[in-house]
């Protein structure tokens, strides 16, 4: 008798489980929690998970809950591929939250073929061209747009009569190289004098040789395209050499951990961000502070949060129109016009032939170990910049 009871209970539970599964909207989440980019990957994925929780607590999407299925792929293309196949065939996901260059690019063709809208944190400009990557989206201005915005800001605030000199320091790596050609072209157009290029690897232990060469060229501005550890090395070595210049760093080069790594040397560095920092007065911050119990989070967390909010908006529009399918969600995302993810990022718009979310970049400056907002620079959405 007891055996039958157990069996029938198990059946009821199984039915309940499937019923729940039908009610939920399943989204795949590829995170790097243990691989080389985990220092920033873990807070980003935490932001996504907290945003999903926030959405579920506030009525979900068309009455359904968002169900995130997370896989830690350790920044390995092969594991990302296997995880993606599992998402598609077992979990039946309708959309994907991806992470870095390695997984996003390895999956570009797959998500296009399987029609899975993907939001990721790989901001290479070539992913914004729907002809090449029809199902890829992200919520930050691409890497090249970020540099362009900073160059424009510096040029607008340039008081001297001679042309400002700019140099580029970046790792010889797909991520470091991606924006350089476009940035140089724009720098020339604005009237900058490009004085030099140097390579500093992501895992560099020192950058003295490169900085000594650069110091002789006396650039007014130096772009650092790396991650916080390499950016910190460059800043500390520059301080030791007494190299007086203005550094500006891309989105992965400055965050809350830079000050701990570089100390005083970080002061005066400009940081290009596409989301607000923790504690800034925007409508969404109250929700985030409530979710996190007031414990400060990195800016990557906030971008993850915003990425999930934007995806949720696409899901809501698609759900209101009918069935939640990949093409419907993609179409819904492409109707977004100046959608505001609670002030966490500049307004987001996607177009069927242009997946650049916006052309706006927040420019922060590190002052006394804190990131202080100094400007918001918006560029024109020029067609010739798409994908470059």
């Amino acid at each position: 008798m007891a055996k039958y009871l157990v069996w029938s209970l198990a059946c009821v539970l199984a039915l309940a489980a499937t019923a729940f599964a039908e009610e939920a909207i399943t989204i795949g989440l590829l995170s790097d929690l243990s691989g080389p980019t985990s220092a920033v990957g873990a807070p980003y994925s935490e932001g996504i998970k907290d945003a999903a929780k926030y959405i579920n607590e506030n009525g979900g999407i068309a009455g359904k809950k968002v169900n995130l299925v997370e896989v830690d792929y350790a920044y390995n293309a092969q594991q990302a591929l296997a995880a993606y196949k599992r998402f598609i065939s077992q979990d039946k996901i309708v959309a994907l939250q991806g992470w870095g260059t390695q997984d996003t690019e390895a999956l570009t063709k797959f998500v296009g073929k399987d029609q899975i809208p993907t939001l990721s944190a790989s901001y290479s400009a070539h992913l914004t061209d729907p002809e090449k990557a029809p199902y890829n989206f992200f919520v930050a201005a691409d890497y090249t747009t970020q540099i362009r915005a900073a160059l424009k800001y510096f040029k607008d605030n340039w008081k001297k009569s001679e042309a400002p000199k700019v140099a580029f320091v970046y790792p010889d790596h797909p991520y470091g190289l991606a924006p350089i050609a476009g940035a140089k072209e724009y720098a020339k157009e604005l009237g900058f004098e490009i004085v030099g290029d140097e390579n500093v690897a992501l895992n560099a232990m020192d950058a003295m040789a490169q900085l000594l060469r650069l110091q002789k060229l006396a650039p007014d501005y130096v772009w650092i395209g790396g991650t916080t550890p390499s950016a910190a090395i460059i800043m500390k070595d520059a301080q030791k050499l007494g190299f007086n210049t203005t550094f500006f760093c891309n989105i992965w080069g400055v965050d809350e951990s830079l000050v701990k790594l570089a100390g005083d040397a970080a002061n005066g560095t400009y940081s290009l961000q596409t989301a607000v920092v923790y504690g800034q007065k925007v409508p969404g911050m109250a929700a985030i502070e409530k979710m996190t119990g007031g414990t400060p989070k990195m800016t990557h967390y906030i971008r993850g949060f915003a990425s999930m909010l934007v995806m949720a908006e696409g899901l809501k529009i698609a759900a209101a129109k009918g069935e939640l399918t990949g093409p419907a969600i993609k179409e819904a995302l492409e109707t977004l016009r100046d959608f505001d993810p609670m002030g966490l990022t500049p307004p987001i718009s996607f177009f069927p032939n242009d997946h650049r979310p916006n052309m706006s970049v927040f420019i922060y400056k590190v002052e006394d170990g804190k990131m202080v907002e100094v400007a918001k620079e918006s560029l024109e959405r020029k067609a010739e910049w798409l994908g470059k």
């Binding site: 243990s34 830690d72 995880a83 063709k109 797959f110 010889d172 797909p174």
Partner: protein, 348 residues
């Protein structure tokens, strides 16, 4: 069915047969049949893991030929794999059909592999390992900077392969394609090891001076080992490019080379079967750990995050434990299991 409880070969040819007993032939046939039917009972995820295993088998068996049989350590195998992938992507973009691209990618990689194998005349052991590491770094640089051919940092897109008008655009179809190439590679290496060429490789590995004294031209044979091994790696890389449909320089980093070395060490150096076992083990282990993390997470929600983050550590730990308790690899354990059942119940 009775197996012989000892070696009773009466001819050299008999000893060198691929399937020395009918039992083995039949069981391998059955295994092949089960493998071919497997996708019918599997979802796409499991089939895709099988595809990844097939591709890894090609890489591991080819590295085992070079390192396990010929004793030439290579830390550049991941990059050779990449050369195959880029060669395939480039040739396919020129409009060449798959059946021409696959061997051509292999030939291009063989040429590159032999070029980087040139120092093997002068260098041995750890020195050669560093020379091949240099190959890895140089090739990675080429992938990233030869924009006109490799697409630079943006990478290259590849369309699914077509053979005689049939497009291999699903996991199941790719499974049969990769299985066919993997089987051919395994048979090819197995057969090479039965020939003069294979015996020369083993002689070089065991003692290069003795090998030279019995008439093995060290340089020529070492180069051949590099050539054949890179050819197969190139074919594997080509399949990887066709399977993922998008390749970037990051995919062929030093991590891939190390993972192939791990495969042959865990599977068993100097054994064709070892390469296969190692490829299966290394490919399946992260999936298995993910599975455990996810299901443990469903039971104890709070620890799922911690388990996911510990995954890489567990992966490393498993490898270390393996090296301590099974230093001769899975192939050796397999031989012991076979021996045990052959003599059962009379163990002595």
């Amino acid at each position: 069915m009775h197996g012989q409880c000892g070696l009773f070969f009466r001819t050299y040819a008999g000893e060198a047969r691929i399937f020395p007993s009918r039992f083995l032939l039949v069981s391998m046939g059955l295994f092949g049949a089960v493998l071919c039917l497997a996708p019918l009972a599997m979802n796409n995820y499991l089939v895709s893991v099988l595809c990844l295993i097939n591709i890894a088998v090609i890489g591991a068996v080819s590295l085992n030929l070079l390192t396990g049989f010929c004793g030439q350590i290579s830390l550049g195998h991941g990059a050779f794999f990449g050369v195959g992938a880029y060669a395939a992507a480039y040739l396919a973009s020129l409009g060449l059909p798959f059946l021409a691209v696959l061997p051509a990618a292999g030939l291009v990689t063989a040429a590159v592999g032999m070029f980087f194998g040139l120092p093997s005349l002068r260098l041995k052991g750890i020195y050669l390992a560093i020379a091949t590491l240099a190959a890895q770094l140089i090739l990675e640089y080429v992938f990233l900077h030869w924009d006109a051919v490799t697409g630079g940092s943006s990478g290259m897109a590849v369309d699914p392969p077509q053979v005689l008008g049939l497009a291999f655009d699903s996991d199941v179809k790719m499974f049969y394609l990769t299985l066919a190439v993997a089987t051919l590679s395994v048979l090819c290496v197995r057969n090479i090891m039965r020939t003069r060429l294979g015996r020369a490789f083993v002689a070089i590995r065991d003692h290069h001076l003795s090998a030279e004294i019995v008439g093995v031209d060290l340089f020529a044979y070492k180069l051949r080992a590099f050539g054949i091994s890179s050819f197969l790696a190139g074919a594997g890389g080509a399949l990887w490019a066709y399977y993922t449909m998008y390749i970037t320089p990051e995919q062929f980093g030093i991590g891939l080379s190390v993972s192939y070395l791990a495969m042959i060490i865990i599977g068993g150096l100097g054994s064709v079967l070892g390469g296969v076992f190692g490829a299966v083990f290394i490919t399946v282990l992260p999936e298995f750990l993910n599975f455990v993390a996810q299901h443990a997470g469903a039971l104890f929600t709070d620890i799922s995050g911690a388990l996911l983050a510990m995954k890489e550590g567990v992966f490393g730990l498993v490898l270390v434990l393996f090296l301590i308790f099974e230093p001769e690899g899975l192939a050796h354990r397999w031989r012991l299991v076979k021996a045990y059942w052959k003599l059962y119940p009379f163990a002595h």
